[in-house]
Symmetry: C2
Protein backbone atom coordinates (compact mmCIF):
# COMPACT_ATOMS: atom_id res chain seq x y z
CA UNK A 1 0.00 0.00 0.00
CA UNK A 2 1.32 3.42 -0.98
CA UNK A 3 0.32 6.82 0.36
CA UNK A 4 -0.23 9.34 -2.45
CA UNK A 5 -1.26 12.44 -0.47
CA UNK A 6 -1.65 13.62 3.10
CA UNK A 7 -3.26 16.89 4.21
CA UNK A 8 -3.99 17.99 7.72
CA UNK A 9 -7.65 18.90 8.05
CA UNK A 10 -9.72 19.83 11.08
CA UNK A 11 -6.98 18.59 13.39
CA UNK A 12 -6.89 15.16 11.72
CA UNK A 13 -5.59 13.91 8.39
CA UNK A 14 -7.12 13.47 4.92
CA UNK A 15 -5.04 10.90 3.04
CA UNK A 16 -5.18 9.02 -0.24
CA UNK A 17 -3.70 5.56 -0.71
CA UNK A 18 -3.22 3.19 -3.63
CA UNK A 19 -3.03 -0.58 -3.22
CA UNK A 20 -3.37 -3.75 -5.25
CA UNK A 21 -6.80 -5.30 -4.87
CA UNK A 22 -6.89 -9.06 -5.25
CA UNK A 23 -10.69 -8.95 -5.43
CA UNK A 24 -10.72 -6.47 -8.31
CA UNK A 25 -7.51 -7.71 -9.91
CA UNK A 26 -6.11 -4.19 -10.35
CA UNK A 27 -4.61 -1.26 -8.45
CA UNK A 28 -7.14 0.85 -6.56
CA UNK A 29 -7.20 4.18 -4.76
CA UNK A 30 -9.13 5.17 -1.66
CA UNK A 31 -9.33 8.18 0.64
CA UNK A 32 -9.34 8.09 4.42
CA UNK A 33 -10.07 10.77 6.96
CA UNK A 34 -8.47 10.03 10.32
CA UNK A 35 -9.95 12.28 13.01
CA UNK A 36 -7.73 13.89 15.67
CA UNK A 37 -8.79 11.30 18.26
CA UNK A 38 -6.60 8.72 16.47
CA UNK A 39 -3.39 10.69 17.13
CA UNK A 40 -3.00 9.03 20.52
CA UNK A 41 -3.82 5.57 19.17
CA UNK A 42 -7.50 5.63 20.10
CA UNK A 43 -9.50 3.27 17.85
CA UNK A 44 -12.41 5.00 16.16
CA UNK A 45 -15.36 3.55 14.23
CA UNK A 46 -15.44 3.76 10.43
CA UNK A 47 -18.00 5.32 8.13
CA UNK A 48 -17.76 4.15 4.50
CA UNK A 49 -18.82 6.50 1.71
CA UNK A 50 -19.78 5.20 -1.75
CA UNK A 51 -19.82 7.79 -4.53
CA UNK A 52 -22.03 8.07 -7.58
CA UNK A 53 -21.51 7.74 -11.33
CA UNK A 54 -18.29 9.26 -12.78
CA UNK A 55 -16.85 9.94 -9.31
CA UNK A 56 -13.52 8.83 -7.85
CA UNK A 57 -12.10 8.69 -4.34
CA UNK A 58 -11.80 12.51 -4.46
CA UNK A 59 -15.26 14.05 -4.95
CA UNK A 60 -16.76 13.47 -1.52
CA UNK A 61 -13.52 14.13 0.32
CA UNK A 62 -13.06 17.51 -1.40
CA UNK A 63 -16.63 18.78 -1.62
CA UNK A 64 -18.89 17.41 1.11
CA UNK A 65 -17.31 19.02 4.16
CA UNK A 66 -17.75 15.87 6.26
CA UNK A 67 -14.30 16.04 7.88
CA UNK A 68 -15.44 18.83 10.20
CA UNK A 69 -18.13 16.67 11.79
CA UNK A 70 -16.06 13.49 11.73
CA UNK A 71 -13.36 15.38 13.64
CA UNK A 72 -15.84 16.52 16.25
CA UNK A 73 -17.40 13.08 16.70
CA UNK A 74 -14.30 10.90 16.37
CA UNK A 75 -15.28 8.90 13.28
CA UNK A 76 -12.99 7.80 10.44
CA UNK A 77 -14.28 8.09 6.86
CA UNK A 78 -13.26 5.82 3.98
CA UNK A 79 -14.11 6.74 0.39
CA UNK A 80 -13.19 4.13 -2.25
CA UNK A 81 -13.20 4.65 -6.00
CA UNK A 82 -16.40 3.75 -7.87
CA UNK A 83 -15.05 0.90 -10.02
CA UNK A 84 -11.93 -1.02 -10.94
CA UNK A 85 -9.54 1.11 -13.00
CA UNK A 86 -6.79 0.70 -15.56
CA UNK A 87 -6.01 0.39 -19.23
CA UNK A 88 -6.57 -3.39 -19.10
CA UNK A 89 -9.91 -3.08 -17.27
CA UNK A 90 -13.03 -3.38 -19.44
CA UNK A 91 -14.71 -0.05 -20.11
CA UNK A 92 -17.46 1.60 -22.11
CA UNK A 93 -17.70 5.03 -23.71
CA UNK A 94 -20.89 5.81 -21.78
CA UNK A 95 -20.60 7.53 -18.40
CA UNK A 96 -22.99 5.03 -16.82
CA UNK A 97 -21.20 1.75 -17.65
CA UNK A 98 -17.67 0.53 -17.05
CA UNK A 99 -15.00 2.54 -15.28
CA UNK A 100 -16.58 5.03 -12.88
CA UNK A 101 -19.80 3.01 -12.88
CA UNK A 102 -19.20 -0.23 -10.99
CA UNK A 103 -22.65 -0.19 -9.34
CA UNK A 104 -21.26 -2.10 -6.33
CA UNK A 105 -22.17 -5.52 -7.77
CA UNK A 106 -20.18 -8.70 -8.44
CA UNK A 107 -20.26 -9.02 -12.23
CA UNK A 108 -20.92 -12.50 -13.62
CA UNK A 109 -20.74 -11.66 -17.34
CA UNK A 110 -17.68 -11.32 -19.58
CA UNK A 111 -15.79 -9.10 -20.05
CA UNK A 112 -16.88 -7.42 -16.82
CA UNK A 113 -16.47 -10.34 -14.44
CA UNK A 114 -12.67 -10.28 -14.53
CA UNK A 115 -12.47 -7.00 -12.53
CA UNK A 116 -15.94 -5.72 -11.61
CA UNK A 117 -16.40 -7.23 -8.12
CA UNK A 118 -17.10 -4.04 -6.22
CA UNK A 119 -19.61 -5.67 -3.85
CA UNK A 120 -16.99 -8.01 -2.43
CA UNK A 121 -14.33 -5.30 -2.47
CA UNK A 122 -16.37 -2.91 -0.33
CA UNK A 123 -17.82 -5.62 1.88
CA UNK A 124 -14.65 -7.62 2.60
CA UNK A 125 -11.28 -6.64 1.15
CA UNK A 126 -11.36 -2.92 1.86
CA UNK A 127 -12.54 -3.21 5.51
CA UNK A 128 -9.97 -5.95 6.17
CA UNK A 129 -7.22 -3.72 4.81
CA UNK A 130 -8.46 -0.66 6.68
CA UNK A 131 -8.88 -2.47 9.98
CA UNK A 132 -5.44 -4.09 9.72
CA UNK A 133 -3.71 -0.80 8.87
CA UNK A 134 -5.29 2.12 10.70
CA UNK A 135 -6.31 2.82 14.31
CA UNK A 136 -9.96 1.90 13.77
CA UNK A 137 -12.41 -0.47 15.42
CA UNK A 138 -14.59 -3.05 13.67
CA UNK A 139 -17.69 -0.88 14.09
CA UNK A 140 -18.83 0.14 10.60
CA UNK A 141 -21.56 2.21 9.03
CA UNK A 142 -22.05 3.05 5.37
CA UNK A 143 -23.55 5.81 3.24
CA UNK A 144 -23.46 7.03 -0.32
CA UNK A 145 -24.91 9.13 -3.13
CA UNK A 146 -27.02 8.08 -6.13
CA UNK A 147 -25.33 4.90 -7.46
CA UNK A 148 -23.45 4.88 -4.15
CA UNK A 149 -26.67 5.31 -2.17
CA UNK A 150 -27.93 2.20 -3.93
CA UNK A 151 -24.68 0.43 -3.05
CA UNK A 152 -24.80 1.45 0.61
CA UNK A 153 -28.41 0.34 1.05
CA UNK A 154 -27.80 -3.01 -0.67
CA UNK A 155 -24.67 -3.76 1.36
CA UNK A 156 -26.37 -2.93 4.67
CA UNK A 157 -29.64 -4.70 3.86
CA UNK A 158 -27.81 -7.91 2.91
CA UNK A 159 -25.29 -7.75 5.76
CA UNK A 160 -27.04 -6.45 8.88
CA UNK A 161 -24.36 -8.03 11.05
CA UNK A 162 -21.65 -5.92 9.39
CA UNK A 163 -23.10 -2.41 9.68
CA UNK A 164 -24.50 -0.32 12.55
CA UNK A 165 -26.44 2.08 10.31
CA UNK A 166 -26.91 3.07 6.67
CA UNK A 167 -27.84 6.28 4.91
CA UNK A 168 -28.13 7.61 1.40
CA UNK A 169 -28.50 10.82 -0.57
CA UNK A 170 -30.65 10.49 -3.68
CA UNK A 171 -30.20 6.70 -3.98
CA UNK A 172 -31.19 4.66 -7.02
CA UNK A 173 -33.88 3.02 -4.92
CA UNK A 174 -35.30 0.48 -7.35
CA UNK A 175 -32.62 -0.14 -10.02
CA UNK A 176 -34.39 -3.14 -11.56
CA UNK A 177 -37.04 -0.65 -12.70
CA UNK A 178 -34.77 2.29 -13.58
CA UNK A 179 -32.85 2.87 -16.84
CA UNK A 180 -29.46 3.23 -15.10
CA UNK A 181 -29.93 -0.01 -13.19
CA UNK A 182 -31.36 -1.97 -16.10
CA UNK A 183 -28.47 -1.01 -18.36
CA UNK A 184 -25.76 -1.79 -15.80
CA UNK A 185 -27.34 -4.97 -14.46
CA UNK A 186 -27.90 -6.32 -17.99
CA UNK A 187 -24.23 -5.86 -18.74
CA UNK A 188 -22.75 -6.99 -15.41
CA UNK A 189 -25.29 -9.66 -14.37
CA UNK A 190 -26.89 -10.80 -17.62
CA UNK A 191 -30.29 -10.35 -19.17
CA UNK A 192 -32.24 -12.38 -16.62
CA UNK A 193 -33.80 -10.05 -14.01
CA UNK A 194 -33.93 -12.92 -11.50
CA UNK A 195 -30.23 -12.30 -10.81
CA UNK A 196 -30.84 -8.59 -10.26
CA UNK A 197 -33.05 -8.73 -7.15
CA UNK A 198 -30.13 -9.24 -4.77
CA UNK A 199 -28.91 -5.76 -5.75
CA UNK A 200 -32.21 -3.87 -5.47
CA UNK A 201 -32.70 -1.90 -2.24
CA UNK A 202 -36.49 -1.75 -2.50
CA UNK A 203 -36.85 -5.49 -3.11
CA UNK A 204 -34.41 -6.24 -0.29
CA UNK A 205 -36.06 -3.84 2.17
CA UNK A 206 -39.49 -5.31 1.43
CA UNK A 207 -38.39 -8.71 2.77
CA UNK A 208 -35.79 -7.56 5.30
CA UNK A 209 -35.54 -9.46 8.57
CA UNK A 210 -32.46 -7.87 10.17
CA UNK A 211 -32.87 -4.11 10.42
CA UNK A 212 -29.95 -1.68 10.11
CA UNK A 213 -31.40 1.79 10.87
CA UNK A 214 -31.69 3.72 7.60
CA UNK A 215 -31.80 7.44 6.75
CA UNK A 216 -32.42 8.77 3.22
CA UNK A 217 -32.42 12.36 1.96
CA UNK A 218 -33.87 13.20 -1.44
CA UNK A 219 -33.96 16.61 -3.14
CA UNK A 220 -37.29 17.45 -4.72
CA UNK A 221 -35.63 19.43 -7.55
CA UNK A 222 -33.41 16.46 -8.46
CA UNK A 223 -33.41 16.07 -12.25
CA UNK A 224 -33.20 12.25 -11.87
CA UNK A 225 -35.93 11.92 -9.26
CA UNK A 226 -38.80 10.34 -11.16
CA UNK A 227 -37.06 8.29 -13.83
CA UNK A 228 -33.99 6.97 -12.00
CA UNK A 229 -34.31 7.36 -8.24
CA UNK A 230 -37.92 6.49 -7.30
CA UNK A 231 -37.73 6.94 -3.51
CA UNK A 232 -41.43 6.09 -3.26
CA UNK A 233 -40.58 2.43 -3.92
CA UNK A 234 -38.27 2.44 -0.90
CA UNK A 235 -40.94 4.07 1.26
CA UNK A 236 -43.50 1.47 0.18
CA UNK A 237 -41.07 -1.34 0.91
CA UNK A 238 -40.33 0.02 4.38
CA UNK A 239 -44.03 0.34 5.08
CA UNK A 240 -44.66 -3.24 3.96
CA UNK A 241 -41.94 -4.76 6.13
CA UNK A 242 -41.98 -2.28 9.02
CA UNK A 243 -38.41 -1.31 8.23
CA UNK A 244 -36.86 1.55 10.32
CA UNK A 245 -36.44 4.02 7.44
CA UNK A 246 -36.52 7.78 7.76
CA UNK A 247 -36.85 9.43 4.35
CA UNK A 248 -36.66 13.23 4.09
CA UNK A 249 -37.74 15.12 0.98
CA UNK A 250 -35.94 18.45 0.67
CA UNK A 251 -37.66 21.21 -1.26
CA UNK A 252 -35.54 22.93 -3.92
CA UNK A 253 -32.45 20.72 -3.64
CA UNK A 254 -30.94 18.99 -6.67
CA UNK A 255 -28.60 16.03 -7.30
CA UNK A 256 -25.33 17.90 -6.70
CA UNK A 257 -22.72 17.96 -3.96
CA UNK A 258 -24.26 21.25 -2.80
CA UNK A 259 -27.20 19.12 -1.63
CA UNK A 260 -24.92 16.58 0.04
CA UNK A 261 -22.90 19.31 1.80
CA UNK A 262 -26.11 20.87 3.10
CA UNK A 263 -27.21 17.73 4.95
CA UNK A 264 -24.04 15.71 5.51
CA UNK A 265 -23.84 16.86 9.14
CA UNK A 266 -27.19 15.21 9.91
CA UNK A 267 -26.00 11.99 8.27
CA UNK A 268 -22.67 11.82 10.09
CA UNK A 269 -24.40 12.54 13.42
CA UNK A 270 -26.95 9.78 12.67
CA UNK A 271 -24.16 7.28 12.05
CA UNK A 272 -22.06 8.40 15.02
CA UNK A 273 -25.02 7.82 17.32
CA UNK A 274 -25.42 4.23 16.08
CA UNK A 275 -21.67 3.58 15.94
CA UNK A 276 -21.29 4.50 19.60
CA UNK A 277 -24.41 2.66 20.75
Amino acid sequence: MEITSSNKSFGGWTKHYSHHSSTLNCDMRFAIYLPPQTANGQKVPVLYWLSGLTCTDENFIQKAGAQRIAAELGVAIIAPDTSPRGSDVADDEAYDLGQGAGFYVNATQAPWNRHYQMYDYVLRELPELVEATFPVSDKRSIFGHSMGGHGALVLALRNPDRFQSVSAFSPISNPVNAPWGQKAFSAYLGKSPSSWAQYDASLLMRKATGAVPALVDQGEADQFLEEQLQPETLEAAAKASGYPLQLNRREGYDHSYYFIASFVEEHVRFHAKHLSA
Copy 2:
Protein backbone atom coordinates in the same frame (compact mmCIF):
# COMPACT_ATOMS: atom_id res chain seq x y z
CA MET B 1 -25.57 39.18 -17.27
CA GLU B 2 -26.34 35.50 -17.68
CA ILE B 3 -26.85 32.87 -14.99
CA THR B 4 -24.95 29.66 -15.76
CA SER B 5 -25.83 27.52 -12.73
CA SER B 6 -27.97 27.63 -9.61
CA ASN B 7 -27.87 25.13 -6.74
CA LYS B 8 -29.73 25.33 -3.46
CA SER B 9 -27.28 25.04 -0.59
CA PHE B 10 -27.77 25.42 3.15
CA GLY B 11 -31.16 26.99 2.58
CA GLY B 12 -29.73 29.64 0.23
CA TRP B 13 -28.42 29.57 -3.31
CA THR B 14 -24.99 29.05 -4.87
CA LYS B 15 -25.03 30.58 -8.36
CA HIS B 16 -22.59 31.29 -11.16
CA TYR B 17 -22.97 34.19 -13.57
CA SER B 18 -21.17 35.39 -16.67
CA HIS B 19 -21.10 39.04 -17.73
CA HIS B 20 -19.16 41.41 -19.95
CA SER B 21 -16.61 43.40 -17.99
CA SER B 22 -15.84 46.82 -19.43
CA THR B 23 -12.87 47.11 -17.07
CA LEU B 24 -11.30 43.86 -18.25
CA ASN B 25 -12.53 44.12 -21.83
CA CYS B 26 -13.74 40.49 -21.87
CA ASP B 27 -16.46 38.17 -20.56
CA MET B 28 -16.03 37.13 -16.95
CA ARG B 29 -17.56 34.60 -14.57
CA PHE B 30 -18.21 34.92 -10.86
CA ALA B 31 -19.91 32.89 -8.15
CA ILE B 32 -22.33 34.19 -5.56
CA TYR B 33 -23.75 32.60 -2.45
CA LEU B 34 -27.02 34.20 -1.41
CA PRO B 35 -27.92 33.16 2.15
CA PRO B 36 -31.50 32.24 3.09
CA GLN B 37 -32.04 35.64 4.72
CA THR B 38 -32.23 37.20 1.23
CA ALA B 39 -35.31 35.18 0.26
CA ASN B 40 -37.60 37.81 1.80
CA GLY B 41 -35.67 40.70 0.27
CA GLN B 42 -33.49 41.41 3.31
CA LYS B 43 -30.25 43.13 2.26
CA VAL B 44 -27.17 41.31 3.54
CA PRO B 45 -23.52 42.41 3.63
CA VAL B 46 -21.05 40.97 1.12
CA LEU B 47 -17.82 39.08 1.68
CA TYR B 48 -15.53 38.97 -1.39
CA TRP B 49 -13.22 35.98 -1.86
CA LEU B 50 -10.10 36.19 -4.06
CA SER B 51 -8.62 32.86 -5.13
CA GLY B 52 -5.02 31.87 -5.72
CA LEU B 53 -2.96 30.90 -8.76
CA THR B 54 -4.66 28.60 -11.33
CA CYS B 55 -8.07 28.91 -9.63
CA THR B 56 -11.37 30.02 -11.13
CA ASP B 57 -14.70 31.12 -9.67
CA GLU B 58 -15.31 27.47 -8.67
CA ASN B 59 -12.55 26.30 -6.29
CA PHE B 60 -13.56 28.15 -3.14
CA ILE B 61 -17.26 27.72 -3.73
CA GLN B 62 -16.94 23.92 -4.11
CA LYS B 63 -14.26 23.11 -1.55
CA ALA B 64 -14.12 25.57 1.35
CA GLY B 65 -17.50 24.86 2.96
CA ALA B 66 -18.11 28.55 3.67
CA GLN B 67 -21.78 28.50 2.63
CA ARG B 68 -22.77 26.79 5.89
CA ILE B 69 -21.49 29.65 8.01
CA ALA B 70 -22.61 32.36 5.59
CA ALA B 71 -26.12 30.87 5.79
CA GLU B 72 -26.07 30.97 9.58
CA LEU B 73 -24.76 34.53 9.77
CA GLY B 74 -26.62 36.06 6.81
CA VAL B 75 -23.65 37.06 4.66
CA ALA B 76 -23.40 36.88 0.86
CA ILE B 77 -20.16 35.61 -0.69
CA ILE B 78 -18.80 36.67 -4.08
CA ALA B 79 -15.96 34.73 -5.73
CA PRO B 80 -14.64 36.22 -8.99
CA ASP B 81 -12.29 34.50 -11.41
CA THR B 82 -8.55 35.12 -10.94
CA SER B 83 -7.83 36.91 -14.23
CA PRO B 84 -9.37 38.04 -17.50
CA ARG B 85 -10.10 35.07 -19.78
CA GLY B 86 -10.49 34.29 -23.44
CA SER B 87 -8.67 33.29 -26.59
CA ASP B 88 -7.88 36.95 -27.38
CA VAL B 89 -6.56 37.66 -23.87
CA ALA B 90 -2.77 37.62 -23.46
CA ASP B 91 -1.50 34.50 -21.76
CA ASP B 92 1.67 32.62 -20.83
CA GLU B 93 2.44 28.92 -20.65
CA ALA B 94 3.50 29.20 -17.02
CA TYR B 95 0.90 28.67 -14.29
CA ASP B 96 2.03 31.83 -12.49
CA LEU B 97 1.61 34.40 -15.27
CA GLY B 98 -1.28 35.32 -17.54
CA GLN B 99 -4.69 33.67 -17.38
CA GLY B 100 -5.36 32.31 -13.89
CA ALA B 101 -2.68 34.60 -12.47
CA GLY B 102 -3.94 38.18 -12.62
CA PHE B 103 -2.39 39.12 -9.24
CA TYR B 104 -5.15 41.72 -8.67
CA VAL B 105 -3.10 44.57 -10.20
CA ASN B 106 -3.79 47.08 -12.98
CA ALA B 107 -1.24 46.16 -15.66
CA THR B 108 0.58 49.03 -17.31
CA GLN B 109 2.74 47.03 -19.72
CA ALA B 110 1.83 45.60 -23.16
CA PRO B 111 0.43 43.12 -23.97
CA TRP B 112 -1.06 42.73 -20.47
CA ASN B 113 -2.52 46.21 -20.04
CA ARG B 114 -5.33 45.62 -22.55
CA HIS B 115 -7.19 43.20 -20.20
CA TYR B 116 -5.33 42.72 -16.92
CA GLN B 117 -7.04 45.33 -14.71
CA MET B 118 -8.13 43.06 -11.88
CA TYR B 119 -7.53 45.68 -9.17
CA ASP B 120 -10.14 48.01 -10.64
CA TYR B 121 -12.47 45.12 -11.48
CA VAL B 122 -12.59 43.82 -7.92
CA LEU B 123 -12.59 47.29 -6.33
CA ARG B 124 -15.19 48.98 -8.53
CA GLU B 125 -16.93 47.19 -11.38
CA LEU B 126 -17.80 43.95 -9.62
CA PRO B 127 -19.21 45.55 -6.43
CA GLU B 128 -21.23 48.00 -8.51
CA LEU B 129 -22.71 45.14 -10.51
CA VAL B 130 -23.36 43.04 -7.40
CA GLU B 131 -24.94 45.87 -5.44
CA ALA B 132 -27.17 46.88 -8.36
CA THR B 133 -28.35 43.30 -8.99
CA PHE B 134 -28.67 41.35 -5.75
CA PRO B 135 -30.33 42.00 -2.37
CA VAL B 136 -27.11 43.13 -0.71
CA SER B 137 -26.03 46.19 1.23
CA ASP B 138 -22.94 48.32 0.58
CA LYS B 139 -21.11 46.80 3.58
CA ARG B 140 -18.14 44.84 2.23
CA SER B 141 -15.32 42.72 3.57
CA ILE B 142 -12.70 40.81 1.63
CA PHE B 143 -10.55 37.72 2.02
CA GLY B 144 -8.49 35.39 -0.12
CA HIS B 145 -5.83 32.69 -0.44
CA SER B 146 -2.19 32.96 -1.50
CA MET B 147 -2.20 35.30 -4.55
CA GLY B 148 -5.77 36.14 -3.48
CA GLY B 149 -4.65 36.79 0.10
CA HIS B 150 -2.19 39.29 -1.32
CA GLY B 151 -4.99 40.83 -3.39
CA ALA B 152 -7.38 41.09 -0.43
CA LEU B 153 -4.80 42.73 1.83
CA VAL B 154 -3.73 45.22 -0.84
CA LEU B 155 -7.31 46.20 -1.70
CA ALA B 156 -8.24 46.71 1.96
CA LEU B 157 -5.03 48.53 2.92
CA ARG B 158 -5.41 50.99 0.05
CA ASN B 159 -9.16 51.46 0.46
CA PRO B 160 -10.01 51.47 4.17
CA ASP B 161 -13.24 53.34 3.43
CA ARG B 162 -14.48 50.47 1.22
CA PHE B 163 -14.02 47.44 3.51
CA GLN B 164 -15.04 46.63 7.07
CA SER B 165 -12.45 43.87 7.54
CA VAL B 166 -9.86 41.82 5.66
CA SER B 167 -8.43 38.35 6.08
CA ALA B 168 -6.13 35.99 4.26
CA PHE B 169 -4.99 32.40 4.19
CA SER B 170 -1.31 31.96 3.31
CA PRO B 171 -0.99 35.35 1.58
CA ILE B 172 1.97 36.39 -0.56
CA SER B 173 2.85 38.95 2.09
CA ASN B 174 5.81 40.71 0.48
CA PRO B 175 5.56 40.09 -3.29
CA VAL B 176 8.27 42.63 -4.20
CA ASN B 177 10.71 40.25 -2.46
CA ALA B 178 9.17 36.91 -3.57
CA PRO B 179 9.75 35.07 -6.89
CA TRP B 180 6.02 34.87 -7.75
CA GLY B 181 5.56 38.59 -7.16
CA GLN B 182 8.76 39.67 -8.90
CA LYS B 183 7.90 37.67 -12.01
CA ALA B 184 4.30 38.90 -12.23
CA PHE B 185 5.03 42.53 -11.32
CA SER B 186 7.89 42.69 -13.85
CA ALA B 187 5.53 41.56 -16.58
CA TYR B 188 2.44 43.53 -15.60
CA LEU B 189 4.02 46.69 -14.11
CA GLY B 190 7.46 46.89 -15.71
CA LYS B 191 10.96 46.36 -14.46
CA SER B 192 11.04 49.35 -12.09
CA PRO B 193 10.26 48.21 -8.52
CA SER B 194 9.10 51.72 -7.63
CA SER B 195 5.78 50.91 -9.34
CA TRP B 196 5.41 47.69 -7.35
CA ALA B 197 5.12 49.11 -3.83
CA GLN B 198 1.43 50.03 -4.23
CA TYR B 199 0.72 46.27 -4.55
CA ASP B 200 2.80 45.01 -1.61
CA ALA B 201 0.84 44.27 1.59
CA SER B 202 3.86 44.53 3.89
CA LEU B 203 4.99 47.87 2.48
CA LEU B 204 1.42 49.21 2.61
CA MET B 205 0.80 47.97 6.17
CA ARG B 206 4.03 49.53 7.38
CA LYS B 207 2.77 53.02 6.48
CA ALA B 208 -0.96 52.44 6.93
CA THR B 209 -3.02 55.25 8.43
CA GLY B 210 -6.56 53.90 8.08
CA ALA B 211 -6.90 50.51 9.73
CA VAL B 212 -9.20 47.77 8.43
CA PRO B 213 -9.03 44.95 11.04
CA ALA B 214 -6.93 42.10 9.58
CA LEU B 215 -6.78 38.34 10.28
CA VAL B 216 -4.20 36.03 8.67
CA ASP B 217 -3.84 32.25 8.96
CA GLN B 218 -0.66 30.54 7.82
CA GLY B 219 0.06 26.81 7.82
CA GLU B 220 3.50 25.92 9.15
CA ALA B 221 3.83 22.94 6.77
CA ASP B 222 3.11 25.14 3.74
CA GLN B 223 5.60 24.30 0.98
CA PHE B 224 5.67 27.94 -0.15
CA LEU B 225 6.09 29.46 3.32
CA GLU B 226 9.67 30.67 3.32
CA GLU B 227 10.33 31.50 -0.31
CA GLN B 228 7.00 32.95 -1.47
CA LEU B 229 4.77 33.86 1.49
CA GLN B 230 7.01 35.42 4.17
CA PRO B 231 4.37 36.23 6.81
CA GLU B 232 7.11 37.56 9.09
CA THR B 233 7.35 40.66 6.89
CA LEU B 234 3.66 41.36 7.50
CA GLU B 235 4.09 40.87 11.25
CA ALA B 236 7.05 43.26 11.30
CA ALA B 237 5.08 45.83 9.30
CA ALA B 238 2.12 45.60 11.70
CA LYS B 239 4.42 45.99 14.67
CA ALA B 240 6.07 49.06 13.11
CA SER B 241 2.81 50.86 12.38
CA GLY B 242 0.67 49.48 15.22
CA TYR B 243 -1.65 47.85 12.69
CA PRO B 244 -4.50 45.68 14.08
CA LEU B 245 -3.27 42.37 12.61
CA GLN B 246 -3.90 38.96 14.12
CA LEU B 247 -1.66 36.33 12.51
CA ASN B 248 -2.12 32.66 13.45
CA ARG B 249 0.47 30.01 12.61
CA ARG B 250 -1.11 26.56 12.33
CA GLU B 251 1.08 23.57 13.01
CA GLY B 252 0.97 20.82 10.38
CA TYR B 253 -1.26 22.60 7.86
CA ASP B 254 -0.23 23.04 4.22
CA HIS B 255 -1.21 25.34 1.31
CA SER B 256 -4.31 23.37 0.23
CA TYR B 257 -8.05 23.87 0.46
CA TYR B 258 -8.05 21.37 3.34
CA PHE B 259 -6.31 24.10 5.35
CA ILE B 260 -8.79 26.75 4.20
CA ALA B 261 -11.78 24.52 5.01
CA SER B 262 -10.40 23.87 8.50
CA PHE B 263 -10.36 27.55 9.47
CA VAL B 264 -12.86 29.25 7.14
CA GLU B 265 -15.49 29.32 9.89
CA GLU B 266 -13.26 31.54 12.04
CA HIS B 267 -12.69 33.87 9.10
CA VAL B 268 -16.36 34.21 8.15
CA ARG B 269 -17.28 34.84 11.81
CA PHE B 270 -14.53 37.49 12.03
CA HIS B 271 -15.93 39.28 8.99
CA ALA B 272 -19.57 38.96 10.05
CA LYS B 273 -18.74 40.61 13.37
CA HIS B 274 -17.20 43.62 11.60
CA LEU B 275 -19.86 43.73 8.87
CA SER B 276 -22.61 44.03 11.47
CA ALA B 277 -20.76 46.51 13.69
